[in-house]
């Protein structure tokens, strides 16, 4: 948790205090591909060196972190909200609504998420909004299925019957009584999903279908270092390490949440099936 907060803070603060514009390309010849900890001709320190255009890698990496974290968190939170809503409605309404929503969820679950993601991302204009929309569109089904199962389980509990018998309106019963008791596994799945969403975003950007340069994201920074892996390995290695630390932190938070919310194995299983 602390690690993730520190990373997020660094991503917000570092580009603000950094000298110079991390997107601007200066004197390419004298500045490009400086190794980590090197000083340039003017004596400025480049903590992680520079990329092929002489841009400071550390500052760019932190700027990319803003994008990656924002996309990962918003993508999975919106997906989870949509999934919760769909699952709850399906379970509560039953009938054809249930059948329609679950058929849709099952159909989307039958295509590996990555393939679905690629199809969607490649066909529409690539960019920040597309990535988030696509992550949401391909990420809501797991949570929906889980919430539906939980609500169906909860709805036979005495307190739900009691609330109904007292004349509480059905939607209020769902909102106040059934849903809060069904949320545990969904929260765990969402936390584990943040790491996954960040990985998928970086994957899309790596293939050139996600965040577009010059706006940096960890994925497109790794792609940018791909053909420099011999001459300047740090250009591709550094953003990868930032990525691993972030996903690691998200996964560990998910793990401890799962232990606390009395183990939902399904979340982990889904997570493994989708891993990039």
């Amino acid at each position: 948790m602390g690690l993730l907060i520190a990373l997020a803070l660094a991503c917000i603060v570092v580009p603000l205090v950094a000298r110079g514009d991390p997107l601007a390309i200066g004197d390419v010849l004298s500045l490009r591909l400086l190794p980590p900890f090197a000083r340039d001709a003017e004596g400025h320190l480049h903590l992680l060196g520079t990329d092929r255009f002489g841009r400071d890698l550390f500052v760019r990496m932190m700027l990319a972190g803003r994008v990656s974290l924002a996309v990962g968190v918003t993508g999975s939170v919106i997906a989870a909200t949509l999934g919760t809503w769909a699952g709850a409605v399906a379970a509560w309404r039953g009938g054809w609504v249930d059948r329609l929503l679950m058929a849709l969820a099952d159909a989307l679950l039958s295509v590996p998420r990555l393939v679905l993601l690629l199809v969607c991302a490649a066909l529409w204009q690539p960019g920040l909004a597309t990535v988030v929309v696509v992550l949401v569109a391909t990420g809501w089904m797991g949570v929906a299925r889980m919430i539906r199962a939980e609500i169906l389980g909860v709805s036979s509990q005495p307190y739900v019957h009691a609330a109904t018998a007292l004349g509480v309106r059905p939607w209020r019963v769902l909102w106040r009584h059934a849903l809060p008791n069904a949320l545990g596994p969904a929260i765990v799945a969402t936390t584990l999903g943040v790491g996954n969403a960040i990985l998928l975003e970086s994957g899309l950007s790596f293939l050139g279908l996600g965040i577009q340069p010059p706006r940096p994201s960890w994925g497109n920074m790794i792609a940018g270092g791909r053909d420099l892996i011999v001459t300047a390995p740090w250009v591709a290695i550094a953003p990868g390490i930032a990525l691993i630390l972030t996903v690691l932190a998200a996964t560990l938070i998910g793990d401890s949440l799962r232990d606390r919310l009395a183990g939902e194995r399904g979340a982990l299983k889904r997570d493994i099936a989708e891993r990039v």
């Binding site: 058929a103 849709l104 099952d106 159909a107 989307l108 679950l109 039958s110 295509v111 590996p112 998420r113 990555l114 393939v115 690629l118 199809v119 969607c120 490649a122 066909l123 529409w124 204009q125 790491g195 990985l199 970086s202 994957g203 790596f206 293939l207 994925g219 790794i222 270092g225 791909r226 892996i229 011999v230 390995p233 591709a236 290695i237 990868g240 990525l243 691993i244 630390l245 972030t246 996903v247 690691l248 996964t251 560990l252 793990d255 183990g263 194995r265 982990l268 299983k269 997570d271 493994i272 099936a273 989708e274 891993r275 990039v276």
Partner: protein
């Protein structure tokens, strides 16, 4: 079957709704608008979506998946060429994933809370968090270029591209070894990421079983430790792991998209990616059908296998 139809139809609609015109990728740069229109008419893209769908679907039912827009080759032969490579890559990696992942998870559960467990947890979680394309680049840096610059013997240098050495025709043993050397890095990456996930899962499952009464009973009546693990624990962790096994195959097939793209393997993942980028609709549809069928079959197999493996069935 109904599910497969739904998937296919959804994908069809999704693809055709997208903005952009495949004809623009096919015409020569100097072509006029009339040329593009002619190509659209040839491919049937000028008809309404419903007509296109009806045509595609009826052909599909008789086993004809159409021809690639880009190369003109039948989609079936494109798939038949690319799929075995991905299936072999995925299958070998999947087997290794479990052979490595399950023992690690069991070891962790046995030493729960001790140094071994904690060290392995950090390692597996870190590998699990690493994107495969990044691992691929890192391993290429070490084993291909690094091995060359650090003066390691040539045997340590692993090839980073393709599945065979280009321009050399090798037969028999030498040819097989050539493919194995080319496969080493891609398989290692897929297996490592997979094994890390399985180890994480196996650790919690085994730890849960170890808490149960029958394990204590077995120990109390003097059953040796390794027999407890082999007979009692493994039998109870196996069913969920088999489900996971089936669930991971399609993910692994899709995950190989990155590995195939970095290592330039001519597999299904790369074929799909190329087709998506070129708006080669028939190939994209064919690949989607393949992936969806793989997922549905894997789920079905898991459901069928589950009751056979459940140790509680014997006592019932």
């Amino acid at each position: 079957m109904l599910l497969l139809w739904l998937v296919v139809t959804l994908t069809f609609v999704l693809i055709r709704l997208a903005p952009g015109d495949p004809a623009t990728f096919l015409v020569s740069p100097t072509a006029s608008a009339a040329d593009a229109a002619r190509i659209r008419a040839e491919l049937g893209l000028d008809r309404s979506m419903l007509v296109q769908y009806a045509r595609w679907f009826t052909a599909m039912l008789s086993g004809d998946m159409g021809a690639s827009f880009a190369s003109g080759r039948p989609v079936a032969s494109v798939l038949r060429e690319a799929a075995p490579i991905s299936l072999a890559l995925g299958g070998v990696s999947l087997a290794l994933t479990f052979l490595i992942g399950v023992p690690i998870g069991m070891l962790q559960a046995a030493k729960r809370g001790r140094l071994t467990d904690r060290a392995l947890t950090v390692i597996t979680t870190a590998v699990y968090a690493a994107p495969s394309f990044w691992l691929a680049l890192a391993l290429v840096a070490v084993f291909t270029y690094g091995a060359a610059t650090m003066g390691l013997p040539p045997g340590w240098r692993l090839p980073a591209f393709g599945i065979r050495t280009p321009g050399v025709v090798l037969h028999g043993w030498a040819g097989a070894m050539d493919i194995v050397r080319h496969a080493l890095l891609p398989v290692a990456i897929l297996a490592a990421v997979g094994a890390a996930g399985i180890a994480r899962y196996a650790r919690t499952s085994v730890a849960d079983v170890l808490r149960l009464d029958f394990v204590r009973t077995a120990r109390a009546k003097g059953v040796p430790g390794h027999v407890v693990y082999a007979r009692h624990v493994l039998a109870n962790v196996l069913p969920p792991l088999v489900v996971l096994f089936a669930l991971s195959l399609p993910g692994l097939l899709a995950g190989s998209i990155f590995v195939e793209s970095v290592f330039a393997w001519p597999g299904l993942g790369r074929a799909t990616l190329t087709a998506i980028l070129a708006r080669d609709y028939p190939v994209v549809m064919g690949a989607t059908v393949f992936y969806a069928a793989a997922v549905i079959l894997a789920n079905l197999a898991a459901e069928l296998a589950l009751p056979l493996l459940d140790p509680r069935r014997e006592s019932a």
